[in-house]
Subunit: 699 residues, 2 copies
């Protein structure tokens, strides 16, 4: 039965990719607007593509080096021969997801603006269709990669099911490395351009946002694409694939000692669940449409109709799925899946609660601007820190429930498999949740183009409505990304433990007690990593922004007539500086993530690595929430003031809030989201290098 | 032999207290200056005492309730009868340390200013003598409490050595609760007054710091005393006693199976080491004197002569101590002690490196003010986060070394005892390190009095030189406080594990593996606590400062002639508001620290508690360093600019740096230091409630 189910997964992936093609065509059928719009859109497209080309060039080097290292390790018998290839395909598909998503996104921005000239619904239609391209490309390519490898290893190479899952897990490392580069590089790009443009343009020169006189304005729009589209695409590809693969790997072990169930069934369940999720997402996304009201709650209802329908379909279909594939004795796993789905929704809701200006916390934060920027900064930091408590409790309950209901207290491996399935459940409707998330930067870009092309105020009002909605859905999307990262990371730690036992065999002295000093020291070092990582990425944004500031100042000074609108700014130099700076800055943090677990392992041994992964997951989860929510709340507090509260735009309160927002920029768009990838990459690297560490370590 | 050694400890404590008396007399022999100075000093003294009285009144209620709870638990057989009494004495002595220290501090401030009228050396002499009162009161009372209880339980009640150490450990909980209340309450007070005074006085009204026209100026000076003196005293009493007691408790277990050594010797070693430390500190502190140069490095050298001499004495004397008491087979413990001492010095050095404006990081941070407050905020946050890496590595190496050299890889309990001894080693010279630390706020107060009383500019220059030096020594002091907190917390977790085994006996199902979901979820919840705690305390400062802002604005508006210096401000109302607000705000965070481990234990069981403590220690350590260093760096970056860099005082850069400093205030003086206590209190509470949790828990 499992081969048919795997084929079903392959079908799911093909359906997703066909849907991508239909959505892409739909987007491209819309007109691009007038010549100015076409020209701006082309500049953004060109800048974004130039960035990606250079980024991929660097990454080809990285992947080539890693390929050689893994190849040598395979030659030494520390890995199977499939691993180097699996690693590369993981990276390739992750990069491809970002590439395709961005191709469409950079073509949809002007079209969205043009469509908004006609009606809000048309605008939503273009933007959301383009977002769907991103969403379904990620799930489609993810399932394609997984199902092809599965069928290949099983039917062609006839590997045992253990070897299949453990090989497949290693292409997760490829996807994670790629994702971290893309997220960090893109995150630095987008925030450096944004901060740099704002610091000189808005603050020093006093010109509005997206003003064509600002030399960094194109770079800013390119940044939205390379950061929020390509970066996010690679990121969620990694999350999606990581959660499925870790569940597959744990499924094999969970049903090791149970004769009534073929272990292969436990491996295909996460894949099939994902495939069903694709169909549910397609149905949901076809339901998204709106009228002419720019009222946020009406718009939100339009999107929620889609996401909720998808979630309900999954919640219903997963039951018979588990029942028939695993049997009624194991229906507890269904509740683990349901728990994951629910936890995702709840974390998303609380993310919105803490960061949306329709709720108390952000409104109160806006009020703190009355006593200046220091108080709004303190307020935002404490809001973010405090907001970690709720998701922690949700995840704690989800983990305990998934573990207990899956029978973890009878057989621990079943509990761990349950946790992994909860992560898959949470991400099963990724197709549509990502579509609602990825359309945001497109609407943002459309607004920029409307501004630069001097379109009607009504158009800008419509794109703003879409953009603002995008912020809300982004908050929900972040909830899913963070929640699933924590669950997947836990599942990956469990996979690492299994891997160590597998490669070490009887010689292994596994002592994962927190009173084992290597574990304890590992926890300390691991807990420190997200802090260091956040610091490095924030610094990178600062340095890159600084170089933009210098360039923009130079252009304002040297290009005569620029401020009067008589001469054109040299956008390309800014784009070029951002590209160079962000690509340069992305390397150190990512290498740190790859090297630390290996070095720690060589010194402290595998027990130390287990500690490291645990510590990094716990603090990483906290830091990701803290930074995302502080940043989101500052952003929306500023918007709340701009909406006419506390003196509105231009008031002292507004100035204070702008400081908060600027601090929040690298928080929420660079450091925070990168940490989600970091915690999984650490585990992935550890798994790939497990044999090395088991054989060579000091303590 | 052990009784003699315990008596030696008692002697050490008496010598310390006699030294306190001599220093106090010395301080009081100095003249208080003119009538204005006397009056200001008296107001500060009165405000501080009023605060303490009211704080102690609330705490008597708390201690009474806890006494009843512990008494009931003792009646139910969950605790021994000594525990409720031990708990109360721990709290009493901790409070007494703060009280005595503050009595002298509030009498030394005007005297320091008066002495500075004569010479810098005289000023240093008064301030440092008053600081010594604080330092030696803490160590004297700590050792008194420990040695009396030890002798009483051993000679009068004839308890077994296990029961003695485990009973004594519980008075650590009293000390820790008291310390947390004092630190949080004092920390909120001092920063609310400081921020409130600055926001209206400096920013809105444009009058200088410490200007007598500012109604919050006395509250600000009171705050230095209740926060930085009384709060710090209670805090370090707790650290000192906690490290010794956890070492004693682990000593019993470490030598359980070794016949050649009487276990009692392992118990007295930490006490004797501390007693030797007292003598070393006295010798060191007698060497502190300086000339007339206000040059920082000359002044620093004067203090360093004292601290270094003390450290060297301990390093030399500890060797024969271990050799003769434990025997040469166990000389490895000496190296654990030495490692702790060294780690303390190194962490102190790096704290200084990251926060002093004589080094690159803070100078660079000051440079970030060029692009405004947002960039200096981002820079400070990332500096603090990045700076966690070095202390983490130092502690990691220290833990591994102490564990390995003590023979932990042969017998794990010996390794844990070694870690505990490292903490004792780090704190052994607390008498003098605390003296160099506590003199800072006295010099700060003296500066305020000099300003308010309109003394000669030369006097202010001298007090400023002393104050500035105080910032450097405070950084070093913080290094010791944070480092010892981490080591002690680890030792306390080990003590908790032993306690669980002791009360649970054979029924216990100890599974401390990080793959046990209760441990894992415990780690998550524990890791979250420092974030929540930091958020709550920062919010408290914000709220309390807000009420001061309102009051100061009211006085400026309603008291006619105040701004012209013709009418007096109503200082007392501000003092009263600060007192009420901070006492009200201190309750929630502290109760959270006491209730969470018990509730977690009742739900997740003792394994969950072990996870909770581990998670809280790891993140707590990181957050404490992050917040202390970010705050310290902002403070000194502002001072660096005030020293004439980047445009100096009043420039745009300076304004940006003031924002950073204001954000840093609650970071470094409220939230950060409280977290050090938090992580130990969590363990202490867990130990006291161990029997309850072992008997009743859900998972």
């Amino acid at each position: 039965m499992d081969n048919q189910l795997a084929l079903l997964t392959l079908c799911g992936s093909i359906i997703a990719l066909l849907f991508v093609a239909s959505r892409a065509q739909k987007v491209l059928r819309f007109p691009e607007g007038n010549d100015t719009m076409k020209k701006i859109s082309a500049s953004i497209h060109k800048g974004a593509m130039a960035y990606l080309r250079r980024q991929y060039k660097i990454l080809i080097g990285f992947f080539a080096i890693m390929f050689v290292i893994l190849f040598v390790m395979a030659a030494l018998g520390l890995l199977t021969w499939f691993v180097p290839f699996a690693f590369v395909t993981g990276g390739f598909f992750s990069g491809l997801s970002g590439f395709i998503g961005m191709q469409i996104a950079t073509r949809a921005n002007a079209r969205t603006a043009a469509a908004c000239q006609k009606s809000l619904n048309k605008g939503l239609n273009v933007a959301f269709s383009a977002g769907s391209v991103m969403g379904f490309t990620v799930v489609g390519l993810g399932l394609l990669d997984i199902s092809i490898w599965y069928l290949l290893l099983k039917l062609v190479f006839k590997l045992s099911i253990e070897d299949i899952t453990s090989t497949m897990l290693t292409f997760g490392m490829g996807a994670s490395s790629m994702a971290l580069f893309a997220r960090v590089g893109g995150g630095i790009y987008t925030k450096a351009a944004d901060v740099g443009a704002d610091l000189v343009g808005k603050v020093e020169a006093g010109i509005p946002e997206d003003d064509p006189r600002n030399p960094a304005v194109i770079a800013d729009n390119v940044g939205d694409n390379v950061g929020d589209v390509a970066g996010m695409g690679a990121d969620l590809y990694e999350s999606y694939v990581g959660s499925i693969l870790s569940a597959c790997a744990l499924g094999v072990i969970a049903f090791n000692k149970i004769e009534s169930v073929d272990r292969v069934n436990a491996v295909v369940i996460p894949m099939v669940l994902a495939a069903v999720g694709v169909l549910a997402s397609i149905i949901g996304s076809l339901l998204v449409k709106t009228g002419e009201s720019t009222d946020q709650s009406t718009l939100l209802k339009a999107l929620r109709r889609g996401t909720n329908t998808s979630a309900i379909i999954i919640a219903v279909v997963a039951f018979p799925l588990v029942w028939f594939i695993l049997g009624k004795d194991f229906i507890g796993f269904y509740f683990a899946i349901l728990g994951g789905l629910l936890a995702g929704v709840l974390i998303g809701f609380f993310t919105e609660y803490f960061t949306s200006d329709t709720y108390k916390p952000t409104q109160k934060l806006a009020g703190k601007s009355e006593t200046g920027s220091a108080t709004i900064i303190i307020g935002g930091l404490s809001l973010g820190m405090l907001s970690t408590a709720v998701p922690i409790i949700i995840i704690a309950v989800c983990v305990m429930a998934a573990y207990a209901l899956s029978g973890g207290f009878i057989e621990s491996t079943r509990g761990l498999y349950g946790i992994a399935l909860a992560a898959v459940g949470m991400l099963s409707t990724l197709g549509i949740t990502l579509a609602t998330d990825a359309y945001g930067p497109i609407a943002d870009n459309a607004g920029g183009i409307a501004e630069m092309a001097g379109l009607d105020a009504e158009v800008r009002r419509r794109t703003d409505a879409l953009d603002s909605l995008g912020n809300t859905t982004a908050a929900t999307g972040k909830g899913f990304a963070i929640g699933s990262a924590a669950l997947t990371a836990l599942a990956l730690i469990a996979s690492y433990v299994e891997k160590v036992q597998e490669v070490g065999g009887a010689d292994i002295a596994l002592d994962m007690s927190v009173m084992n000093p290597t574990v304890l020291v590992g926890i300390f070092i691991g807990a420190c990593l997200p802090f260091v990582f956040a610091a490095l990425t924030m610094d990178s944004v600062g340095r890159a922004a600084q170089s933009i500031v210098v360039e923009v100042r130079r252009q304002f000074k040297e290009i005569k007539g620029l401020m009067e609108g008589k001469a054109d700014a040299d956008y390309e130099t800014c784009v070029d500086i951002c590209t160079k700076a962000s690509l340069h800055e992305m390397i150190l943090p990512t290498l740190l993530a790859i090297i630390t677990p290996v070095v720690t392992g060589l010194i402290l041994g595998y027990n130390g690595v287990i500690g490291l992964l645990t510590g990094a997951t716990a603090t990483g989860f906290l830091m990701a929430i803290f930074m995302a929510n502080s940043g989101g709340a500052w952003d929306n507090a500023k918007k709340y003031i701009e909406g006419g509260n506390h003196g509105g735009k231009g008031s002292e309160c507004h100035k204070a809030a702008v400081v908060g927002d600027t601090v929040g920029d690298p928080f929420k768009d660079t450091s925070g989201p990168s940490i989600n990838i970091l915690i999984k990459l650490l585990s992935m690297v550890s798994i790939v290098f497990a044999a090395l560490v088991v054989n060579y370590h000091i303590f």
